[in-house]
């Protein structure tokens, strides 16, 4: 018995020794949801968006305070700036629930690698936040904009990026681990989502902005920032971004249209599968991008009969042509920036390592001269609830009158 009692004593003593190590009551932490990184003379200026939980989930009548508040601090290093934030925040900053890390365009142009180390190294951070670049404005301005519907703007941006990627494909959700992978990978360059503010960013920070049906400032997600090394070198527009997603096999669902006769037919891409194959003929190296796409007819504004095989084939060819054009546009833009964001170099490294060894040192120059063929195969799967469009009948009726 004595042995057990001694053991019990020892255990009890441990309880006091620990001093509740690393315990934080919920009421002593403040949840950070977004981090904006901008340039300053010393180094970094960080803007931290923290939550005011009572304004979001409190059941008492909401006051006129905002649900989020921002704190700004500068420091020579990233970590220093983060820690200096505690001077202005009332409680310990809790970074695990960070949803967004936004770079100002000027920081991104200078290089982002110096700030990435902390984001990966710190134990408190989960790696599931999205990263983005703010076009035209500073990151601080972006995360200060209030958004309607969603009180936490970081959460709005996170959800927008995710749904835009899944249903429209003009952008790409990039998380920190993926960014670091593509920054360090051989034969592949990094990309980041673009965000911009439409409207008056000053007015958008005020509560009045979201008190009306049309907010004074809105946050848009569009385009993809192209990196060369860790520096932002340029942007892909919406169509080129879509092409990028086609080539990197990142299209889950999107909508496009083609002209048929004197009208348009819209199709919804339901499934897309892309393969990049490297061919070697003597010394010339060519890349084939092969897309297999399944689409549904979404909208018909012309006299097109789904029952007619030749019409179906015509649409399939037109859509394939359009996809090829989009992809080529995207490739042309990337070549302009001398940045192989698609990972053709990686394909080469995998298929023929010896060849890669020869070119890897100046691949970005070589990439510009690489011959890349895009071949799309489109198959129409479903045509929706109507087989023969009533468009033609209405037209006929109009002409009769």
């Amino acid at each position: 018995m004595g042995k057990y009692i001694n053991m019990l004593y020892a255990i009890c003593l441990c309880v006091w020794l620990s001093g509740c190590w690393s315990a934080n009551e919920l009421s002593s932490i403040t949840i950070a949801t977004a981090l904006g990184i901008d340039k300053s003379e010393k180094g970094f200026t960080l803007t931290l968006q923290v939550l005011n939980p009572n304004e979001i989930a409190g059941k008492e009548g909401l006051s006129s305070r905002t649900a989020i508040s921002n704190y700004t601090e500068s420091g020579a290093t990233f970590f220093e700036a983060v820690r200096k934030l505690t001077k202005v925040t009332p409680r310990k900053v809790f970074l695990s629930h960070l949803m967004l890390v936004a770079y100002g365009e000027s920081v991104a142009e200078e290089g982002i690698s110096s700030s990435l180390d902390f984001l990966i190294r710190d134990h408190e951070l989960r790696t599931d936040f999205v990263m983005a670049i703010v076009k035209d404005n500073t990151a601080g301005e972006l995360i200060s904009v209030l958004t309607p519907l969603e009180k936490i703007s970081a959460s709005k941006i996170y959800d927008s990026i995710e749904s835009a990627q899944d249903y429209w494909a003009p952008t790409k959700k990039v998380q920190v681990d993926e960014l670091v992978n593509s920054l360090t990978a051989e034969g592949k360059e990094a990309v980041l989502t673009g965000i911009y503010i439409v409207g008056n960013s000053e007015e958008g920070q005020k509560l009045q902005s979201v008190e009306q049906t049309k907010p004074l400032a809105n946050i848009y997600i569009n385009g993809i920032g192209v990196f060369n090394g860790d520096q932002l070198v340029g942007w892909l527009n919406e169509e080129e971004s879509k092409g990028f997603n086609y080539i990197t096999n990142n299209v889950k669902n999107t909508v496009g249209w083609v002209s048929i006769g004197n009208g348009k037919v819209s199709v919804e891409v339901k499934k897309n599968d892309t393969k990049i194959i490297m061919n070697q003929k003597n010394d010339a190296k060519t890349f084939d991008v092969v897309l297999k796409t399944v689409v549904n007819i979404g909208e018909v504004e012309t006299d097109f009969m789904i029952m007619d095989q030749s019409d179906v084939q015509k649409i399939e060819e037109k859509v394939a042509e359009k996809i090829e054009r989009i992809c080529q546009a995207s490739i042309t833009k990337a070549k302009e920036y001398e940045s192989d964001i698609f990972g053709f170099g990686e394909v080469m490294r995998k298929t023929s390592p010896e060849e890669w060894g020869k070119v890897k040192d100046n691949w970005s120059k070589q990439f510009v001269f690489a011959e890349i063929n895009v071949k799309a195969e489109v198959q129409i799967d479903k045509s929706g609830m109507i087989t023969s469009p009533f468009y033609k009948k209405i037209k006929e009726k109009n002409s009769e009158e």
């Binding site: 057990y4 309880v15 620990s18 509740c20 190590w21 690393s22 315990a23 934080n24 009551e25 919920l26 009421s27 932490i29 949840i31 949801t33 939550l51 939980p53 009572n54 979001i56 989930a57 409190g58 809790f94 695990s96 629930h97 949803m99 408190e124 989960r126 959460s155």
Partner: protein, 511 residues
């Protein structure tokens, strides 16, 4: 005082004589002239001064039986087909003859007193240095077989044991009509002289187990056994454990099922709770109804009870660990909502949880003790203390009320009250561990708990079997309850002999 010492002290001076009246006085003195000791004197007519004295304890005997016996023994029977009693007493010889058939002759004073206490009627006759005892036991203190109150079922027999050991054994015999159902009797408690019976099926039970139970019961040296709990504490394998290693039930069908599996039932006079040994941890999560409902229902309900074990043990501690140490594990939106609730609460999560848990335990205890007539008062007050009022007062957060409620509901799921108490006790330990070390503490605690559980034995059978040690054939009635016609074997670790039940193929309905 020890019984043997009492005997020796009284043996010398307390000797029976041939005078009935003297003997009567002796017994009365030894019983401290207790008022319920009734004595009746009768003089036999034929011979002068032959006195017969009847003694019995009022309340322990059936008055009707005593009267019948007194009359029948003393008076001459003059009827032919039907006994009709005359108004004359029998002769001394006839009386002796009659008594030699229906009564026991006792010469020791202490055995006479024993039989008085056990509801027998004792006769002293002049000229005989002995007493005759006739069984007139029949007490109006027994209640009938009533519906059981502690382990209720929706489907299944509703009867329950009573305070009378004979009725209890009879309830088992009614269910198992097999000559190999054997019982053994012993008396435990020097003062209470409590009758204890063990019952088992001779050709199923493990011989060593009977020996072990017998020897443990014989070793009990105590003055009073008032309830089966007293016996349980003496015979359990390990005292320093929060877990029960002896099963108790009020339900005859549960005890009968246990006996049929090769366990031993221990009946104790004066309590409706019958003990069953050996018992495994998993038995506390099974109800008799599992065998009366379809097997799939029973299996699902058992899984539900397993879940209830986890919830009842860990809900508050997981809440504390998550909100104090591991906020990154909570989904963001839930965290925001929790943070908003905790905003106005002045206490740390542990104190908050302790306040609510202790309040709930108090309420629960009060609910048991309160007379039924004022019982509704406690539910009204309870709803206030453990409800919205506590939240509105800013003492606890709304989430804590939900946590306590989940804990409370799941602790009421268990069919065994004593198992639920074990978890209640451990819950507080886990809360402190969680508040000190977070999940690390909880898992260390769980590890220690599993180590402790696997060290437990119930009459030599590992407490965690059939999981540790693993026994594949016993899995058919552990968490799963396979259909009865598939259940061929009795639990292996409990009885090593005659493991196979009768092969009972499912009735073929197609024929």
């Amino acid at each position: 005082m020890n019984k043997s010492k009492w005997n020796e002290k009284n043996k010398k001076k307390n000797k029976l004589t041939s005078r009935a009246l003297y003997n009567e006085q002796l017994i009365k003195e030894l019983l401290g002239n207790s008022t319920e000791l009734v004595s009746k004197q009768v003089n036999l007519e034929e011979e002068e001064s032959v006195t017969v004295v009847f003694l019995y304890m009022n309340g322990l005997v059936s008055q009707k039986l005593v009267q019948e016996i007194i009359l029948e023994i003393l008076l001459i029977d003059i009827g032919e087909a039907v006994p009709i009693l005359s108004n004359k007493t029998k002769s001394k010889e006839d009386l002796y003859h009659e008594l030699s058939i229906i009564a026991n002759e006792l010469t020791e004073v202490e055995t006479i007193i024993d039989s008085l206490i056990n509801g027998k009627t004792v006769l002293f006759i002049d000229g005989k240095i002995a007493a005759f005892s006739i069984d007139t036991k029949g007490s109006n203190t027994d209640r009938g077989v009533e519906q059981n109150t502690t382990q209720q079922v929706v489907r299944g027999p509703k009867d329950s044991f009573t305070e009378s050991i004979l009725i209890n054994v009879a309830l088992i015999r009614k269910r198992i009509k097999d000559p190999s159902l054997w019982t053994e009797q012993m008396v435990i408690g020097t003062k209470t002289q409590t009758q204890v019976m063990i019952a088992y099926i001779h050709d199923v039970v493990n011989e060593d187990l009977i020996k072990e139970v017998r020897s443990r019961l014989k070793k009990i040296k105590v003055d009073a056994i008032l309830e089966s709990g007293n016996i349980e504490e003496f015979i359990q394998d390990q005292t320093y454990t929060p877990f029960p290693t002896v099963y108790n039930s009020e339900r005859p069908d549960a005890i009968a099922a246990g006996i049929l599996e090769g366990r031993i039932a221990i009946f104790i006079d004066g309590t409706p709770f019958v003990l069953l040994v050996p018992v495994l941890l998993i038995n506390f999560l099974q109800t008799p109804e599992d065998y009366y409902q379809r097997s799939d229902i029973a299996t699902l309900l058992r899984c539900l009870r397993m879940l209830a074990v986890v919830l009842s043990l860990l809900t508050p501690s997981i809440y504390i660990a998550l909100t104090v140490f591991h906020q990154e594990m909570i989904p963001t939106r839930l965290l925001i909502s929790l943070a908003a609730q905790r905003e106005g609460v002045p206490f740390p999560a542990l104190v908050e949880a302790l306040i609510m848990e202790v309040t709930f335990e108090l309420l629960r205890e009060a609910g048991i003790r309160l007379p039924a007539t004022v019982g509704s008062a406690i539910s009204i007050v309870g709803a206030l203390v453990l409800g919205q009022a506590a939240v509105d007062a800013g003492i606890v957060s709304a989430m804590m009320v939900i946590v306590v409620s989940i804990t409370a509901i799941s602790s009421f799921v268990f069919p065994s009250y004593n198992f639920a108490i074990s978890l209640r006790m451990l819950r507080f330990g886990f809360m402190i561990l969680a508040a000190t070390f977070g999940f690390f503490g909880i898992f260390t605690g769980l590890l220690l708990l599993v180590m402790h559980l696997s060290s437990l034995r119930s009459f030599g059978v590992p407490y965690l079997s059939p999981f540790a040690p693993y026994n594949s054939s016993d899995q058919e009635d552990a968490i799963f309850r396979v259909p009865i016609w598939l259940r061929d074997n009795r639990p292996k670790l409990i009885n090593q002999k005659n493991i196979r039940r009768e092969r009972s193929w499912k009735v073929n309905h197609k024929k």
